[in-house]
Amino acid sequence: MGDIFTTIYNFLLSLLIGLGADQVVADAIITFLAAAVLATCVLLILIFNIWLERKVLGRIQDRIGPNRVGPYGIFQTVADLTKLLTKEIIIPSGADLVPFFLAPILMVASVILVWAVIPFTGKTIGTDVNIGVLYFVAVSSLGIMAVLLAGWSSNNKYALLGAFRAVAMLVSYEVPMILMLLVPVLLSGSMRMGEIAAAQSIWYVFSMPLAAFIFLIAMTAEIGRSPFDLLEAESEIVAGYQTEYSGFAFAMFYAAEWAHAFTMCALVATLFLGGWRGPGAEQYPTLGFIYLAIKIYVVYFFSIWSRGTLPRIRIDHVMSFCWKFLIPLALILIVLTTLVDKIAQILLINRFPNYLSMATPADMLPRAGILLAVNLVVGLVAIGWIALVGRRERRHQTAAEHPASVEAGMATR
Amino acid sequence: MIPLHWYLLVAAGMFALGVYGVLARRNMVAIIMSIELMLNAVNINLVAFWRYMAPENLNGQAFAIFVFTVAAAEAAVGLALIISIYRARETVVAKEIDMLKW
């Protein structure tokens, strides 16, 4: 009742069996079909996303944005796409052909594959493997390889440099991201995406806001958006690892990039914002799909917002921010959270429902409250610390540049 | 269903290829890659034996995890050594790194 996906599945199954197919074969066909549909939908929705982003960016920058093709310029992306697909693919001399074309494919695949484990509703999920989160990490590590392949095979020093830079940054930011992925896993006690979403009677963003925030930052770096858009910093390394790509191959990179952003937003929505959960979603699973879409677009909006407002950071700052601040903070947060959670559990024996037990929000409140308190404390300390370090750094810089002014300033003070 | 010895044969073939690679490749990076192949063959064996002979206890999988750990550590240190040798002697050919003789 109510679940549109189950209905479709049942219809197709009866149709295929009616056509004389075996149960196993029919299941296999439907699985392949579903996968194809899912992948296609993800790629198709990019057309809308790109238009949306350009519109929002335009508003942020006090412009109108695309407005020529179609109403509100909504078909602008289609036109761009057509142009890209029909352009010639230029292969640089000395290029290593197999890696050169393998790279965009891997890149897109690494993004699309993630959608297999995203739960759309309480019942609909591509495949609810018991290692969903790990699967995501494993699959997205393919993307790094793709970057390296692209950079290497282009036979271009800017591409190679860009690839090195991108790999260094992606690998670095993978660390805090994976650490923060642990938070939902620890809290729900499962790596199944479905169970993680189902366990959030209180969204993890409320009990672990700092974790969600760190994840958001790491995610922004992973998808290479401003302020971390150094992977393709035109002014420094031309266009990074994709310098030599054109035409359809470039379109694939382009699509992979946007799909990556969208996918990560879906992941944030699932892991921290309760996924499909919302009022009535248990009874009417289709509602869950709508909730998920809303949540994804809220996160996506934040992503566009940061892109439109924040300037690019220097590469050494990016790296030191990750290694010297984000990773220690993430480690401290995880260790403290687990410790406090465990101690609280020992002290309040049996008053601490498991997240997976589908307890009501009221039951979860003490645990969520304690975690929230830990998060706030760690967050405040971290902000205070970074402010202190920043101030000292600025003072040093000023002292180095204008020693006199500092002395004068000291004197007047 | 696939019988156990197929997996074992695949692993044995992988291992033998790895041994050949270790012995025959010139480049040290290639040697490390061959070592990874051998470690992986061992892992396939471990998991296959776990699956077919004792699926009720997890020792095979646990061992495989430790092999992963060792592989990662080996790759990190080995490649670091290669880079440092490259810096010092401008070569990554195993044959040419033969100062330790006579």
Partner: protein, 745 residues
């Protein structure tokens, strides 16, 4: 519950960690070391408090104690046969968990104060440069002891950690580990001032020798104990306390004859033999007669160490062990006829109690009195276990640990004060005799007004020790032992009663000599109160010395028994055993007797030493009364000299006269010399043969080998892949042989 296991594992871990941190990182800073040690012990204390709370709130702790463990040494089938290391918190363990961290924490606080000054003066013997000359004219050299003091904190942290391991251990082997670490620590700590010598007191034992003596003496007891442990393991296949002691089948199985074929030992059961072997360990550790001699000499260590060894940890360990092993000791006991180990314990304990008390009466060193008092009180506990008064022994163990730690720290405070006084007086122009001893009670007197906190707390501790009725913890625990003895074994009762009388007397003598009257020396006159870190523990422990006793007041005791709601301690600790021991019916006779004895002892002491305090240069009034006996007592029945005569000198004599001079010099050397001469002759004949025949041959062989290897050395090409190929080919050959042998043949 697993979490409890984690907490319990952390308890000994944190002082041990502190030990390593101090030794490895902070050994150059006293302050940092103090902080590390204090943090560690406070952490331990808090954890112990949590665990104690959990233990106390667990219903039926005796049947279902809090345990956790892990496989230590997997042997055979991993789960059943392995040696397991684990923790056990049953009621008895909970008692240990109460007083060990408490006293240890107090001693740590005290130590930070006691070791406050950053350098100390060490005596220089013979010629050699010196920085100063002390009040008695000794040459002194200033010695920077910061590192030493940091190390001191490390050692006592290790000591506390070991004691906690021992208290929480769930098996005899782990207990023995803690036991032996403490043996090591006692050696390290007693000999802490290992370069201190007493040039002008030749008879006085030096710290280094005292440390060796303590170590060697306890070793004498430890060896039989290890044998007992091994025997127990080979017999039962386990060392786990629960599996042995809480299991009637195992205990029944142990109750078989050990030596059926040896007529002289016909009646000895296995349990009895193991029990006696284990008890020998306790004799050494708890300083029972005849291995008691190390404990008084152990007073050469710094005073916090004395408090640690004689109150909270080491000597308690022996008693704790026999209390813990009581079911084994009493296997086959039907409540009437004592088993063999119990007889031995009862007689050794009672004898030691009286014997040590008599020596304590005639000591003049403030710490030695307490040392002998400790031996005596431990004798009480041992005797109590011996007559089956299991709970009473545990109770006295707890109260004694508290008030004896208090007394030792008080005495340390007194000595500290007098030493300060000596320095001040020296500044003001007073000179002291060359053998002036700041620990001698006859050099004190009148300290009551000068160090009031110490005096009051010392008085409380002393009254607790002597069993001042109703308001001290010592009274209740001692009374319980005496009541048990009265009901079960009158002989033991009268011996213990006599010891109790002497205890009260020498306690009052000590208080009188130390605090009452007017100062007998300038040092005592200028003694000053010490710093807060040394006073705070005294006050805390004094509180417990008064109130800790109320947990174990007999139900039948008029007024108080009702008021305090029954004998909590008895039921709690009694439930450790398989069969909870029955509480004795309340009886007036022993109570009145023990009150009378305590009060009369105190009264006599008061009459002799306090009412008319001694003046300077006065002799001990006891000397007149006792005459030569006093000298006998003062010299501790000449036990040290006796042992010297029986053991030390004969072994020295044997090793020098027989082994060295006769065997070595005459027989072996003579034979060797003969052989040597013979071969010398032979060798010269050989030389010619050698030069022409052998050398010629050898040279040519050597040259040949040299040339051959020159051509073979190129095998070592330095190419790793070549080596590997050869190695793998070799392995393959072996595998081929193997395959051929197994499959093809």
């Amino acid at each position: 519950m697993e979490n409890i296991g984690l907490i319990a594992f952390l308890i000994p871990a944190s002082p041990l960690l502190a030990f390593f941190i101090i030794l490895l990182f902070t050994r150059h800073s006293k302050l940092a070391s103090d902080i590390v040690a204090m943090v560690a012990i406070l952490f331990t204390w808090v954890l112990a408090g949590i665990l104690l709370y959990l233990a106390l709130t667990t219903p039926h702790l005796g049947e279902e104690p809090l345990t956790a463990g892990l496989v230590w040494l997997p042997l055979g089938d991993a789960v059943t046969d392995s040696l397991r290391m684990g923790v056990l918190v049953d009621p008895l363990g909970a008692v240990m968990l109460f007083f060990v961290p408490l006293t240890a924490t107090m001693i740590f606080i005290y130590s930070t104060g006691y070791m406050a000054s950053g350098s100390y003066w060490t005596e220089v013997t013979g010629e050699g440069d010196h920085d100063a000359v002390d009040t008695a004219g000794r040459k002194l050299k200033k010695f920077d002891a910061t590192a030493w003091k940091a190390r001191f904190m490390a050692f006592i942290a290790l000591f506390a950690g070991a004691m906690l391991i021992l208290s929480l251990a769930d098996n005899l082997l782990l207990l023995f580990v803690g036991w032996e670490i403490m043996g090591l620590c006692s050696y390290l700590l007693i000999g802490f001032w290992h370069n201190r010598v007493y040039a002008n007191q030749p008879k006085r034992i030096t710290p280094m020798l005292a440390g060796i003596k303590a170590f060697m003496t306890t070793r004498v007891g430890d060896m039989p104990m290890l044998v007992g442990i091994a025997w127990l393991y080979s017999f039962t296949g386990t060392l786990n306390f629960r599996e042995i002691l809480y299991n009637p089948e195992v205990l029944e199985g142990l109750n078989v004859l050990a030596f059926p074929n040896v007529p002289a030992l016909a009646g000895v059961t296995v349990a009895g033999a193991i029990g006696i072997l284990l008890f020998m360990g306790a004799i050494g550790k708890s300083a029972q007669f005849p291995l008691h001699t190390w404990l008084p000499d152990a007073m050469e260590g710094p005073t916090p160490v004395s408090a640690m060894i004689h109150a909270a940890t080491m000597v308690s360990a022996g008693v704790y062990m026999i209390i813990r092993m009581f079911p084994l000791m009493s296997a086959g006991w039907d409540g009437h006829a004592l088993t063999l180990p119990m007889q031995v314990m009862a007689s050794v304990g009672a004898f030691t109690a009286l014997f040590a008390a008599t020596i304590a009466v005639a000591q003049c060193d403030v710490k030695k009195v307490l040392a002998y008092s400790t031996i005596s009180q431990l004798g009480y506990m041992v005797a109590a276990v011996g007559i089956g008064a299991y709970v009473a022994a545990a109770f006295h163990l707890m109260t004694h640990a508290i008030f004896k730690a208090l007394l030792f720290m008080g005495s340390g405070s007194i000595i500290h004060a007098v030493e300060h006084g000596e320095e001040h007086a020296h500044h003001h122009g007073h000179h002291f005799p060359i053998d002036f001893d700041a620990q001698d009670m006859f050099n004190m007197g009148g300290l009551w007004k000068r160090i009031p906190v110490t005096a009051w707390t010392f008085l409380i501790g002393g009254l607790a020790l002597s069993g001042f009725p109703f308001v001290t913890a010592g009274f209740w625990s001692k009374d319980e032992i005496l009541a048990d003895a009265f009901a079960h074994n009158p002989t033991v009762f009268w011996v213990l009663a006599a010891a109790a009388f002497l205890t009260a007397f020498y306690t009052m003598r000590q208080i009188g000599l130390t605090f009452a009257g007017e100062p007998r020396t300038h040092a005592a006159e200028e003694a000053t109160q010490t710093d807060w870190r040394m006073n705070l523990p005294l006050v805390v422990l004094a509180f417990f010395a008064v109130f800790a006793g109320y947990v174990g007041v007999h139900e039948g005791f008029p007024v108080l028994g009702k008021l305090l709601g029954g004998n909590f301690f008895h039921h709690f600790v009694g439930s450790t055993l398989l069969k909870e021991p029955e509480a004795l019916a309340f009886s007036w006779a022993p109570v009145l007797l023990s009150i009378g004895i305590a009060l009369s002892g105190l009264l006599i002491g008061w009459l002799v030493y306090v009412r008319r305090p001694l003046q300077a240069e006065d002799e001990d009034p006891l000397k007149k009364v006792l005459g030569p006996i006093y000298t006998l007592l003062e010299n501790k029945y000449y036990f040290d000299e006796l042992y010297d005569l029986i053991f030390v000198r004969p072994s020295k004599w044997v090793s020098e006269q027989i082994v060295y001079l006769l065997l070595d010099k005459q027989i072996i050397d003579g034979f060797l010399h003969f052989v040597a001469r013979f071969f010398e002759w032979l060798a010269f004949r050989n030389k010619d043969f050698d030069t022409y025949v052998v050398n010629g041959l050898g040279d040519s062989v050597a040259e040949g080998i040299g040339k051959t290897s020159d051509s073979f050395k190129y095998v070592q090409s330095g190419r790793i892949q070549q080596y590997m190929a050869i190695a793998i080919a070799g392995v393959l050959m072996l595998v081929g042989v193997f395959v051929w042998a197994l499959f093809l043949r």
